[in-house]
Amino acid sequence: MSRKQIYEKLADVFEDVFDQRIALNDRITARDVEGWDSLTHIILISAVEDEFGVKMDMKSVQRLTNVGAMVDLIEELLAK
């Protein structure tokens, strides 16, 4: 799956979790999205895992600092 395709799918997941369409890019962090708190973060992770059929470990979950890091991780897990 290309990075562009990952972004398209990820935008759908974000819309489902945050109830709004967000123009995603690598630099977006939790501070930029209303309602992205620690609780929503873990719900988002679960939704991403279900959508892409991947499993993120706790080490990775704690290190996700922005959307770019999340896309990198999805790319890495899909490649395995």
Binding site: V17, D37, S38, L39, I42, I43, S46, M58, K59, Q62
Partner: protein, 511 residues
């Protein structure tokens, strides 16, 4: 050992001298010896047996987890993890919560009349047990998740678990953030020592000048809630909120400052909580390391279990729209808030006041959020407006003050009684209200407190723009030393300590 005793001050100065005189590779040994000494002087030395069991079990479990993971034997790694967690949580639960369990059992058997009352235990707990047990849990889980490597040297692991500044009241640190700092040694740095001492001085100011005076006011009202009612109850509630903040954050300043003198940076526990716009934000700024720990080691692992995911699927089928997403989140939050309440102590007053009350406030604000937004739009309220921010912060302060009434008073019944007394608005004579402006302090002490709180507010406002210590360091030598002397002499002259006055222990000490 009290952090404001002369013995502590002398021992601390000597400890810094020795620390920087010995070779860097032995500095961690010096810290371990200091920690053992501090432990010996601060609590019942016999309780060291619990700390030793915790250290050895954590070190062995971490080693086993790592070895099993390396051999791709996840089953045994998990077994080692569970063993380590059970031993450490078992000690904590036995020492801190047995009496809570027994008192509930006794109440129940009293109602059902099935068995005689079981006597309460008088088991002494080691100082800092709640804090170091949380560090151990985080350490074991981090090793299990592959976030960190285990420490093979048991004595070094002991230093991480029992590092003396953290034994009083935390902060709860992570092994990954501490290992380099604790074991690699530090060159003498004038900046580290002076900045550390400044921070300790600021902590002493908060504790001895402000918190101890606020304690007098709070004690006056809460010692007689049958007499005081109405506005006195609310005044005491607000004063206790400031007392708790100046006490706990003052303690943190002393701890973090002392550690800074050794060149070891501990995580921050406070970020100006009274500027928060919501209860949720308040808790992200208050006791930060506890909140982060609960998020990373309870909430996230819990919400990633298969059972939890099944629960989400079930609620998704039963409920629609937002409720389907929110219900599992709220259940996760409920677990965290119950633990926050229980962490404060084995008593229903903590579970209700420090746990469920704040859980209720946060859930209610989330549920009502769409209506709040509509009302805000209808009234054309600008969310960035300073006055609106102030109103939101005052609302948070009121809600926090109510929760803290449960923290301060002796029991759930006493707290509920005090809050009911707060709703009584009967008329009194002018003598009754005459105490309102001093609440047990004389006028000069009241004025000292007001000026001190103003200084605290000014520093908090300055901190929004950056480090106040850096700001002071940029001033010329005359201004710098004027500030230091004012602070030193205000602590010496205005601090409530010394013969004839027994400064209260830190509120969070002994947790």
């Amino acid at each position: 050992m009290s952090l404001f005793s002369l013995l502590f001050f002398c021992a601390f100065v000597v400890s810094i001298g020795i620390y920087y005189l010995i070779p860097k590779k032995y500095q961690w040994v010096a810290l371990l010896i200091y920690s053992a000494g501090f432990f010996y002087l601060s609590c019942n030395p016999a309780t060291a047996v619990y700390l030793v069991i915790s250290v050895i079990s954590a070190a062995l479990a971490a080693k086993m987890i790592h070895r099993c993971k390396a051999n791709e034997n996840d089953k045994y790694a998990r077994l080692a993890l569970i063993t380590g967690l059970v031993i450490n949580l078992g000690i904590l639960a036995a020492l801190k919560y047995t009496n809570f369990l027994l008192s509930n059992l006794n109440s129940l058997s009293g109602v059902l009349k099935v068995m005689p009352a079981i006597p309460m235990t008088e088991w002494a707990a080691p100082i800092g047990i709640s804090f170091y047990t949380m560090q151990i849990i985080a350490y074991l889980l981090d090793v299990y998740w592959g976030i960190t490597e285990p420490q093979n040297n048991v004595a070094k692991a002991a230093l991480f678990i029992g590092y003396w500044p953290q034994l009083t009241s935390g902060p709860i640190a992570r092994y990954n953030d501490m290992k380099e700092q604790l074991y690699s040694g530090h060159e003498f740095s004038w900046r580290n020592v002076t900045f550390g001492l400044q921070r300790m001085l600021w902590g002493l100011f908060k504790k001895l000048v402000l918190s101890e005076r606020l304690a007098v006011m709070v004690d006056m009202v809460y010692s007689d809630t049958a007499y005081f009612n109405g506005i006195y109850i609310w005044a005491a509630a607000v004063m206790f909120m400031f007392q708790l903040y100046t006490d706990f954050s003052g303690c943190m300043d002393i701890i973090i400052g002392a550690s800074e003198c050794y060149g070891i940076v501990l995580p921050e526990n406070f970020r100006r909580p009274f500027f928060s716009r919501s209860v949720q934000e308040y808790w992200q700024r208050w006791h930060i390391t506890l909140g982060t720990w609960l998020k990373d080691y309870v909430l996230y692992p819990l919400m990633r279990t298969r059972k939890w995911k099944k629960l989400i699927q079930k609620t998704g089928k039963k409920f629609r729209g937002k409720a389907a997403k929110q219900i599992p989140s709220y259940l996760g939050m409920l677990v965290v808030w119950l633990l926050i309440g229980l962490w404060h102590g084995g008593d229903w007053k903590y579970i209700i006041g420090m746990g469920l009350w704040f859980f209720g406030c946060i859930v209610l604000s989330k549920v009502l959020d769409p209506w709040f937004k509509k009302a805000k739009d209808a009234l054309h309220i600008n969310a960035d407006n300073g006055v609106w921010h102030l109103i939101q912060s005052l609302r948070v302060l009121l809600l926090v003050a109510i929760g803290n009434v449960f923290f301060r008073l002796d029991s759930l019944e006493a707290a509920l009684h005090a809050l009911m007394q707060g709703l009584i608005l009967e008329g009194h004579d002018s003598y009754y209200y005459s105490k309102l402006w001093t609440l047990g302090l004389n006028e000069s002490n009241r004025n000292v407190l007001l000026i001190g709180l103003l200084i605290l507010l000014t520093v908090s406002l300055l901190q929004r723009k950056g480090s106040v210590r850096e700001l002071i360091a940029r001033q010329n030598i005359v201004i710098r030393w004027i500030i230091y002397f004012i602070l030193i002499f205000s602590v010496i002259i205005l601090g409530r300590y010394g013969p004839g006055f027994d400064a209260q222990a830190f509120i969070y000490q002994g947790f």
